[in-house]
Symmetry: C2
Subunit: 460 residues, 2 copies
C-alpha cells in the first residue's frame, strides 16, 4: 500500500511493477472495450490515470463504478504516452470500498467557489481546495520549522482570558451559564462571579501579552494559534475566527524585527516553492497569473523600508484623486497600501507611525509623536504583518496606559515585566490566512479556511 | 551576538575568542576581588558562568548588579576547571539592559510549585519550568514533523461550532451579547438568532468530525489545536483549556491505527531524548527517578495489545481489593489502568470496549456488543490516547445516532460522508498535556500549561 506522493517521488523505479493504491475516483470515462479512471488519494496534488480493458474479468462491474467512490486498486505501473503524465496504471484488480450516488455534488466540471463554499465538507476534494489546504498545511510546517531552527520556543498562550485588551466590543464572551437562567447579583445584574472561572471571561484576540512574559525567559518565542474577533463585517479579508503567528523577541529593536520578518517570509516562500511546485503552477495558471514570478522575485529582493512620513510624501505627490486624502496624522487606507506596493513593486516596511492611531504598548519615539511600529505591506494582499518595538520603560508604559484609558489592573503583571529584568524587545503578528491569500492568489478568506466563521455563517 | 545554544554547540571552536551574549542574571556571588554571575539567555537549559575580577574598570558597578537583571555581556570564552561546565566567560564589558529590584520573587533558591503557579508570568525563568516549556515546544515540533514526514495534511478545524456533539453541559457557550441586555424572543427566552452567527454557538471539544471530512479528501490528516471542556473538577489531570492532536486516517482499521499510535509515540520519545538530553537528565534527577530509563525502554519495546475482556480477566484474577470492582460491561478505573500497565510494565493498548460506554460514531463489532475502540494506557500517566475505527456504514451510523439520542440535524453532513465515497477509517485523540506529563514526570497539568485555566482560576 503506497501513498500516491511516494509513487510520484519514485515512479522511475516502479515501472512494470505491481502497486496497490487506495483513494477516490475523480472522473470515469468509459468506452466500449476500455475505461479510464482519474484517481487521486489526496496525498499529492496530481492524480493518476487508471486504465482497464475488457480483459479484466469483472469489466462490466468496473464500468459501473461511480465518480466519487472510494476504491482499492492494484495494477501495473507503466510509462504513459501522454506528455502531461509520467506514468499510468493498468488495473489488475479493483475493489469498491465505498459507493457514491449519481447525485454527488462534486462532479468533474467547473464549480463556482460560492457553490463550493456551501459544501465546505466536500470541497477539499476539488483541485482548487486540495491545493489550497495542502499549501496551508505545508506553510504551517514551514513556519514552525523556521522558528524552531532559530531557537524560538513555541508557546501556547491561553485563549480564555479576562484581559480584555482589545476593548470588549471586539471579543467574544465565554460562559457556562444557561442563557435563560443567568444568576444575578443584588443589583439585578448578571453575576459572573458564579461562572466557572469566577469572573467574566473572553476568548482572546491576541497572545502577545503572554508571549512577552515568555520572551523575558526564553529570549525568542512564537505563538501560532486561533484568534477571535467579533467584527460584524462581511469583507473578503475578515473572518471571526482565524489563526495568527505572534513572535516576540527580547533584545531586539525595530530594525532587528524587520530583519526577522523579512527572513521569515523569504524562508516560507522558498519552502512553498520547493515543496508545492504543482500547486503553485496550478495557482499561477488558474488563479493569479504571475504568482510564481511574484514569489520567486520576493525571495531575491530586498524589502523597501520607509517611514510613515515618507509614505505620505509619496502619496501626496502622486497625481491621483484619493478617496481618502493621505494625512501625516492618520492611518493609510487600502488604496494607499496598494499604491505604495505598486510604486516600489516590492514588499514595503512602513515604520514610525503616529502614536495616536497605534496601540498603547508600543514604544514612543524620541520625537514624542510617533511610535516604533512597523507594518509590512505586500503587493496584492496589503498589510501582512504588524509589529512594534514595545515600551520597555515601566513609567512611560504606565503613562501611555493612563493616556489611552486602558484598564490597569488586568495588565499589572504585564507592566511588572518591565520591573523585573525587562529589556528592549519587539514582536509582530502575522495573520495566517492573509499569508495563504498572498501565497495562493485565492483572494477570499472564506476559501483559505477549512470551515470559515463569518457573521451569520457558522455552518458545519 | 550569539544564542547560548549556539555557543554550547560550538564552544570547542570558540576558546579564547571574544563573544557577546544577551540574557539574564540568575545568580550573583560576590567576593572581595572577584565575582561570579550565573547567566542564562533562555535558548538553552544550561546557563554559563561569567567571571570578573577587580581588573574590570567598573568593578564596583558590576558588583551591584541584581539577580534577575537583563544584561549584554562581552567576554572571552575560556576552558572551565570545573567538571560540570565545559567553559566559562571572562567578562570584558557588561551593560545593564534592565534592572531588577531586590524584592524580585524568583530568587536562586527552591520555590514550591504551588508558589510558582501563583507567578505564572515569571516561573518560566526557573530551571523546572524552563525545562518543561522548552520540552513542550520541542515535542509540538516533533508531532508536526512526524505527521508531515508521513504525508498527513494539518487541518485547522474550527473552534466555534454549533455542533454540540459532547452534550452541552461540557461545552462553553460563546456570544457577543451584553449579558445584562440579552435580546429575547416572543416567549421571553434569549434569542440567539440575533447573535453574530444567528445561532447558539459553542467553543468546541473536538475537531474529529471536521477532521473526518478532510480525511475523505486527503486520506491522512491531523489536527493540533486548543480544546475546551467545562468540567468543574479540580484534579491533577483536568484543565478547562488544553491542546489536542486528532489524526484521522482513511483506509485504516483498528490494527492500522494502533501501529500509527505506537510509531508516532516512539518517534516523539526518540526525538525528545535526542534534542533535550539536558532537560531529560534534569527531570530524571529531580522530578521522576527512572524517567530516562522509562523513555529509552519505550522506544525499544513492542506495546502490548489486549482486549477489554482480557483486561477484565487479568483484573478479576488479581489478588487485590478494588475500590471499583472490574466488570465486563463497564469502563476501567484509574486503579485498573495503573495495575494493567504495571502488570505488563509497558504501554498497553486495550481494544474492543463495551459499546454502551463509548461514543456513537464508533464501529460496532460483529459481536454486536463491543466497538472497535482502543485506549492506550501508559505507565504513570494512564490513558494517553483514545481512538476507534469509525462506523462507515450510513444506516448503521444513523441507527446508533437514534439509539444514543444524538441530535441528528447538526451532524447530517457528517453522516453524508458515508454516502459520498466513504470508506473504512480510523482516528484517535491525544491530549497534548498528558503527553508532556508522561515525558517530563511533572504530574500536575497546571505545571505543563503556560497559563492554566481551571475552575475559579483564570489569572493573567
Amino acid at each position: 500500500m503506497k501513498d500516491l506522493k511516494e509513487v510520484y517521488q519514485t515512479y522511475e523505479k516502479l515501472f512494470n511493477q505491481e502497486i496497490t493504491l487506495q483513494g477516490w475516483i475523480r472522473n470515469h470515462r468509459k468506452q466500449k472495450d476500455i475505461g479510464f479512471i482519474d484517481f487521486n488519494d489526496g496525498t499529492y496534488f496530481k492524480g493518476v490515470q487508471l486504465i482497464y480493458d475488457n480483459n479484466l474479468k469483472d469489466f462490466q462491474e468496473v464500468q459501473k463504478l461511480h465518480i466519487g467512490s472510494a476504491i482499492t486498486v492494484t495494477g501495473i505501473l507503466i510509462k504513459s504516452l501522454k506528455e502531461k503524465q509520467p506514468f499510468e496504471i493498468m488495473i489488475k484488480t479493483i475493489k469498491l470500498e465505498g459507493d457514491c450516488p449519481d447525485d454527488y455534488p462534486i462532479q468533474p466540471k467547473r464549480h463556482t467557489r460560492e457553490f463550493l463554499r456551501s459544501l465546505a465538507y466536500l470541497r477539499p476534494r476539488t483541485n482548487l481546495f486540495s491545493a489550497v489546504f495542502r499549501v496551508r498545511s505545508i506553510v504551517a510546517e514551514a513556519i514552525h520549522n523556521y522558528f524552531q531552527e532559530n531557537n524560538y520556543v513555541y508557546v501556547h498562550t491561553p485563549l480564555i482570558t479576562t484581559t480584555d485588551c482589545e476593548g470588549s466590543d471586539q471579543m467574544f464572551k465565554i460562559t457556562t451559564f444557561d442563557y435563560d437562567n443567568m444568576p444575578k447579583d443584588d443589583k439585578g445584574l448578571v453575576d459572573t462571579s458564579k461562572d466557572l472561572f469566577g469572573k467574566k471571561t473572553y476568548v482572546t484576540g491576541t497572545g502577545q501579552l503572554h508571549g512577552e512574559a515568555f520572551a523575558m525567559a526564553f529570549k525568542k518565542i512564537y505563538t501560532f494559534g486561533p484568534t477571535f474577533r467579533t467584527e460584524n463585517s462581511n469583507t473578503k479579508t475578515h473572518a471571526n475566527e482565524f489563526w495568527m503567528i505572534e513572535p516576540e523577541i527580547a533584545f531586539c529593536d525595530l530594525n532587528g524585527l524587520m530583519n526577522i520578518e523579512e527572513e521569515m517570509l523569504k524562508y516560507i516562500v522558498r519552502d512553498v516553492l520547493e515543496k508545492c511546485p504543482e500547486e503553485i503552477n496550478f495557482f499561477d495558471e488558474f488563479v493569479e497569473k504571475g504568482l510564481k514570478e511574484k514569489l520567486t522575485k520576493l525571495v531575491n529582493s530586498s524589502f523597501v523600508r520607509i517611514t510613515h512620513h515618507e509614505a505620505i510624501d509619496i502619496l501626496t505627490k502622486a497625481n491621483i484623486k484619493w478617496e481618502f486624502e493621505p494625512n501625516y496624522e492618520s492611518d493609510i487606507a487600502k488604496e494607499h497600501e496598494k499604491y505604495i506596493t505598486e510604486y516600489f513593486n516590492s514588499p514595503v516596511f512602513i515604520t514610525d507611525w503616529p502614536k495616536d492611531i497605534k496601540a498603547w504598548y508600543m514604544k514612543v519615539n524620541e520625537d514624542g509623536k510617533t511610535v516604533a511600529a512597523v507594518d509590512l505591506e505586500v503587493p496584492g494582499a496589503g498589510e501582512l504583518m504588524g509589529g512594534s518595538q514595545r515600551e520597555e520603560n515601566y513609567d512611560k508604559l504606565l503613562k501611555r496606559i493612563k493616556e489611552m484609558n486602558v484598564l490597569e489592573e488586568p495588565v499589572d503583571w504585564f507592566c511588572n515585566l518591565r520591573k523585573y529584568g525587562g529589556c528592549y524587545h519587539s514582536g509582530f503578528g502575522m495573520g495566517f490566512e492573509r499569508l495563504i491569500i498572498y501565497l495562493t492568489g485565492v483572494e477570499n478568506i472564506r476559501d483559505v479556511i477549512p470551515f470559515p466563521r463569518t457573521p451569520k455563517n457558522c455552518d458545519y
